[in-house]
């Protein structure tokens, strides 16, 4: 069966090769055959994908990953995890000998071992009106046969990218029938590059050009702001040019592989990347391609030594009007940030946002609420509500996207190391000082003091915090409440917080204090992995591996820490609310638990809220006539090991204090402000899914088996059930005692 296709095969077959070389491959062949300026394309047909999949038994392996639970109940993060696992199956797979030989020969004869570009070309992609550009991967500047073979595997694996799985229904993605081809072309390193929309997606009478110095990568990823020319297609006036705020960077080839961002030479910074004549040739290229395909085109081009090259051309897709706002998929995909974008986020978060947030919560803590008049307290409530909202939006816009640093590191680690376990990279990120482990350490110190002092124990047992005269202990208690926000939202009144802290310290005093020693051995292993990675990455990656690792560690740590930082702001809002409620209640005013900040603020100023809202939170409890029960539930193995114990299902903040050492924590989703439970737990079962979520992070820190993404976990498991948590396979077995 034919595996490799050259442009002339389109002429000999006279027909449609889309099914075997994909839409992009076919379009490039047509352009090349018509004499348009395209680097000569060669395609590796879909049959190669199928041979590789068959040889490595990937079909059912992919199916098992995709069908572990209903994809409708699978979060984007979990889809990303699945995709990483699939990618790893491909990276670890072996080529059929003949296929490997054919590709080697192709690279030697056709490309004379020069660097190439490797692109995906799926049969269903770029097909007319519905275009799913960018669903699958492409790689620039791939040099050497080993790299070519690896990147082809990655292009095949990208048939199962997180983007593709999210849009599986629209794409008709099926393990049994879906397939993908690969296009290889010589890598052209232009002096400037860009895109031209022969018709603007926003205004069909306009043509738009965007251009940057160097390669297109920065423009496509949004890391380099382009120069832009807009032209009215019906009028022959010169285009309207707008410069970016600055021309500081360009993407160029990296010595070893890939491309990377570099500073633009100062003399070029003041000059647009295209002169007038070049703009005109790009315009005519756009129009020519539109005529060629008889459809408006979105063309990527590059300019080298005065020659304009077409890199790819696809139909312009207009954004659908009235796009479904509940469709969050494009937002998820916007979380896939580039390395350079992550570096900027990192700097902004650590240099600016976190210190500002802490200053803000420190200032809020200093406010003596008791001394405020009613009017002042009413204003203070609204002010705090606004502050909380503002930081919540910072959390979504900056902190959440920065979490992608861990994922990007994972992908790069797997490219370089090709480990058997696709999540091996996590070992390099654990064992850091994090606020949650620092807090747990503080709890442990308190527990030690309690073990040595019966009066402290008795004060805690009876919640008589006022009686405690050990100043060291009192200071630690204050830290737990303020710095580590153990008095977080959902705890209600202060006495509840005291009860929780007392219960936790007492439980910690029954812990084996030696658990930290386990970490030493783990550190040894991860240090070895780290030096292996760094050595290999120096040769293979276009970025500094140590900087990458540092960024990934920050991403991992901040993902957990940020919740505690923002928890302090929420806690300060809560403190003001609690104080306002107390003040109102002392005056005999009846309050409803659902009274909002605005209600409370108004009531302080003498108004009565017109409607009393009822809590809308309806807990869907499983009305068990106990006919159906779970025996074994699947999730993802997020922290290895096996743990057994009685289940404790935690449904609300008030139940945290009931948790006992040796129980299995069963929870909808664990937040870093609750992870003081982790060292006590025999295992963790979480409904929310993901290998990199908080429950998983903290479980790995303490070496506790953890499975995440268990559908209906809190519904199907009851407190008191005997549960076995298998952190190797990601399952839990439930045994009910009657």
């Amino acid at each position: 069966m034919k595996v490799i296709y050259f442009p002339d095969s389109l002429q000999t077959t006279e027909g449609d090769l889309r099914a075997v070389i994909g839409g992009k491959g076919q379009a490039l062949f047509k352009l090349y055959n018509s004499g348009l300026p395209v680097p000569r394309p060669v395609c590796i047909g879909t049959v190669a994908y199928e041979q590789f999949v068959a040889k490595n038994h990937l079909r059912e392996k992919i199916n098992l990953l995709l069908h572990r639970k209903d994809l409708k109940e699978t979060r984007w993060e979990e889809i990303w995890d699945i995709s990483l696992r699939i990618q790893n199956l491909f990276l670890n797979g072996r080529y059929p000998a003949e296929l490997r030989r054919d590709i080697k020969e192709l690279v030697r004869v056709e490309f004379k071992n020069k660097p190439v570009v490797i692109r995906s070309s799926a049969p269903g992609e770029d097909g007319g009106a519905r275009s799913f550009a960018g669903l699958h991967d492409s790689y620039l500047n791939v040099a050497g046969i080993d790299q070519v073979l690896q990147k082809i595997k990655k292009v095949w694996a990208s048939l199962w990218s997180d983007r593709a799985i999210l849009y599986r229904q629209e794409l008709g993605l099926e393990v049994a029938s879906s397939t993908i081809a690969v296009v290889i072309q010589e890598f052209i390193e232009g002096e400037s590059s860009g895109v031209v929309f022969s018709k603007s997606p926003l205004n069909a009478s306009q043509l738009i050009i965007e251009a940057v110095y160097g390669l297109n990568q920065g423009l496509v990823d949004g890391d380099v702001e382009p120069d832009r020319w807009i032209l009215d297609r019906s009028v022959s006036e010169p285009p309207e040019h707008s410069s970016p705020t600055e021309r500081k960077y360009q993407f160029l080839r990296c010595g070893n592989a890939g491309v990377c961002r570099q500073l633009l030479q100062p003399e070029l910074q003041a000059v647009p990347p295209l002169d007038e004549k070049q703009v005109r040739s790009v315009v005519s290229l756009g129009i020519r391609l539109e005529k060629f395909f008889d459809m408006a085109q979105d063309v990527e081009w590059t300019l080298r030594s005065g020659h304009l090259y077409i890199l790819q051309s696809r139909p312009v897709t207009a954004r659908k009007n009235g796009e479904d706002r509940s469709d969050k998929r494009s937002w998820y995909l916007s979380l896939n940030r580039s390395y350079d974008n992550l570096l900027l986020l990192w700097e902004n978060i650590t240099e600016k946002l976190l210190p500002e947030m802490d200053d803000e919560s420190n200032a809020l803590e200093r406010v003596v609420l008791q001394s405020l008049t009613d009017g002042e307290l009413a204003d203070e409530l609204l002010r705090r509500d606004g502050i909380n909202e503002r930081w919540t939006s910072v959390y979504w816009n900056d902190f959440i996207p920065f979490a992608h640093g861990v994922r990007l590191f994972g992908e790069m680690y797997n490219d370089v190391v090709e480990p058997v376990d696709p999540f091996e990279f996590v070992a390099l990120l654990t064992g850091q000082e994090m606020l949650s482990t620092e807090r747990n350490q503080l709890l442990l110190e308190c527990a030690r003091m309690v073990s040595a002092d019966d009066s402290l124990r008795s004060a805690l047992l009876h919640h008589n915090f006022a009686e405690i005269d050990n100043q060291g202990f009192v200071q630690k208690l204050a830290l737990l409440k303020s710095r580590f926000s153990m008095a977080g939202p959902g705890m209600g009144e202060e006495k509840n917080t005291d009860a929780l802290i007392a219960a936790m310290i007492l439980q910690y005093s029954s812990l084996n204090f030696a658990y930290q020693q386990r970490r030493q051995g783990v550190h040894e292993d991860s240090r070895q992995l780290e030096s292996q990675f760094v050595a290999k990455a120096r040769e293979k990656l276009p970025v500094d591996p140590e900087k990458l690792l540092e960024m990934a560690r920050a991403s991992y740590r901040i993902r957990d820490d940020d919740n505690i930082h923002i928890g302090r702001i929420a806690q300060e809002l809560e403190r003001a609310k609690a104080h306002a409620r107390k003040r109102l209640q002392n005056r005999g005013i009846l309050l409803n638990p659902a009274n909002s900040v605005k209600d409370l603020s108004k009531m302080l100023e003498g108004y009565t809220p017109s409607t009393i809202r009822r809590s809308s939170a309806v807990h869907s409890t499983y009305q068990a006539d106990k006919k159906v029960r779970a025996r074994q539930l699947q999730g993802q193995p997020a922290s290895s090991g096996i743990g057994r114990g009685k289940a404790r299902v935690i449904a609300s903040g008030e139940e945290l204090k009931d948790f006992k050492k040796g129980e299995v924590l069963v929870i909808d989703s664990i937040d870093p402000t609750m992870t003081f439970l982790a060292p006590l737990a025999a295992g963790i079962v979480e409904r929310r899914g993901g290998m990199l979520i908080h429950g998983a992070i903290i479980a790995r820190e303490y070496g506790i088996p953890c499975i995440t993404g268990v559908v209906n976990a809190t519904l199907l498991i009851e407190t008191g059930d005997f549960v076995t948590v298998d952190g190797y396979l990601g399952m839990c077995t439930v045994q009910r005692k009657e």
């Binding site: 059912e60 199916n63 069908h67 159906v628 029960r629 779970a630 539930l633 519904l715």
Partner: protein
Amino acid sequence: MSAFDQKIQEQIASLLGSQHLTVLSTQREGQPYSSLMAFAFTPDLVNIAVATGKSTRKYQNLMQESRVSLLVDNRSNNESDFHAAMAVTAIGKAQLIEHQERPEYEGIYLQRHPYLEKFLASPTTAFVKIAVSHYVLVSRFQDVMEYRLGDESDLFS
């Protein structure tokens, strides 16, 4: 009944409905013995009916030990079974179908297996029903749910 319970029951009913054959496991003095059998079931899932020659080992086993287990699955004997196939194990007690209930069971049995009419009518064939106490449904390779019909809580009581 909750929607969740109902969903599981529907899955079991649809799996049973999709298959003609079951594997019946009997035992004698601790030695298990499995046989492939035609079967039918009541719409409430409470009873499963099978027929067997009276001179068979399984019949003799049933006479000595009425506790049995049955397995029904929808495998296609392809590798896709690992993610796609479902299996249900039924646990219960076997007893001979009484004269007065015979028409009902004959109805459901022959509707599914009209070609076994002669076999079922033979005086040497025993018509047996299994009163199910538990179903154990396995899907997605290793998701396991139990559906309890009887009062016994423990599967093996």
